[in-house]
Amino acid sequence: MSRVEAELRDAPRQSAWPVRRPGYRRFVRRSPVTVIGAGLVLAVVLVAIVAQIIAPYGPNSQDAQPLLRPDRRHLAGTDELGRDELSRLIYGARVSLYVGGLAVSIALACGATSGVLAGFYGGWVDNVTMRIMDVLFSFPAIVLAIAITSILRPSLTNAMIAIGIVYAPIFARIARGPTLAVVTLAYIEAARAVGLPNWKIMLRHVVPNVSAPLIVQTTVSLSTAILTEAALSFLGLGTQPPTASWGLMLSAARQYMLLDPWIAVLPGAAIALTVLGFNLLGDGLRDLLDPRIRTL
């Protein structure tokens, strides 16, 4: 392939957003997974928003007998402390979204900006930044999470900050790639020659090319953040009781797996569906925005 063709192939678009794409309906038919994914995510978001309206009880009131099977008054039964399972599942949606949102926000803020800056300025900035990211990345995530949550006051927020820091390197790497590709192109030099300040260059040329892969990675990381919160809750370092988070509910239900599988299956299913939703959405978005995007 000639150099010109290669460059044309790699030439960044002016805008990452699909301006003129044929037939969304065709897209839906060709890729039902995206729609399913979007639907699941939307459902979770809605439940989280109207939690207080639709939940029959508060999430923490131990007003009933423990381990009840589902019945008229408790549609999903009660958990090991006598709290309504359905209400806890509903409120759990809030926690899951909070968890994912916070972790990913931090990862974006720290990681993506570092990656862009590293790719843009190159040289020792690039080297140092990426080495720091390497250090974070080769550090066992679970140890980092344990350390941070033990050092700071144990809380869900701090656990998610830890997760955000752990995810930052991924975002850095994803942001750096397209940035590098853009920076080497001729018209960037031209822009600089004309006198355009760096931040404007970044905004106008780098960001549009970086946003697509970042969006896809965001959906993926939202899902893994939820799984990681479950793992941390298993270790006792994630959600603080009595907060209703699906991960904590799952962890607490471990003791009752054969006695009352309900309280284990339901939060597990909730996690699975939410994570599935984000993943499918991410897949679909990738197909939609740019099939050449690689995610991690």
Binding site: P140, V143, I146, I148, G247, A272, L273, L276
Partner: protein
Amino acid sequence: MRYLVRRLLWTLAALLGVSLLIFVLVRLIPGTIIEVITGTEGQLSPQQRLDLLRSFGLDRPLPVQYALWLWNMLQGNLGWSFRTSQPVAGLLVSRLPITVELAVLTVICVTLIGLPLGVAASITRSVRLKTFVQIIGLVGLSVPNFWAGIVLIIVASFAFHWFPALIFVTPWQDLPVNLEQMSLPVLSLALGLAAVVLRMTRSSMLEVLGQDYVRVAQAKGLSHSIVLLRHALRNALIPIVTVLGLQMGTLLGGVVITEQIFGLPGLGWTLLNGVYQRDYPVVQGAVMLFAVLFVLTNLFVDLTYTYLDPRIRYQ
């Protein structure tokens, strides 16, 4: 060659960073080995606490402790465990093979599941099949690691009345029993990662299949499978190998909880216990070992790149 040297130097810098980070981090966690020794019921006088601290070398100023540790580490001495007074290097070396076996078996399992499914999902024309495979693959990814492990344990025992022998045997001592012991942990880890590989295979196959040279090969009259294997798959392997390399980090993390649940005496469980019991030498040593493993895996991955795609050459 010059690339390799430069790469190595930067890697060493990164490892130095890791060492500093873990050294500081583990000392920031509240509580020391003294608290682990006394628990909530034991009593020690303040003088005794001081003496104990001194015996562990924890009374020296931090930079001194760090320098000593680094100096010893470069000579291959990772210190002695606070809890058992055993040499850390020996302890970690004895635990390492278990974790490595777990990781390697998982990668094999994941590739055997994810790769074919991903290829299938990319070449099939049936939308239904594509959707089905995607969702099935992703379900595995959607379940927390520890939960998959526990469910497998319960199902194996209470539904099939089966459970592997408890005392761990190495593959050299008794291969069938060893594989039995590894089967459930590997399965619980593989479920999640298989989906990632599936996804990556599918998307990179899709991209490669759309390329001109594939169409040229087809036009030349090469059979479908040769086209697939020789050209498409080989180029599609690059991102897959990347993913596997990067997933090593996740894998080594997931290994920690899996080892705890299944009682496998591996590096992850040793590390976790070390953190709980504030056994600084063990934690520091284990993290460095993890980091080295991770870095080596990445290096291997990058070198595999050059083999898979001759266009990629590093200046």
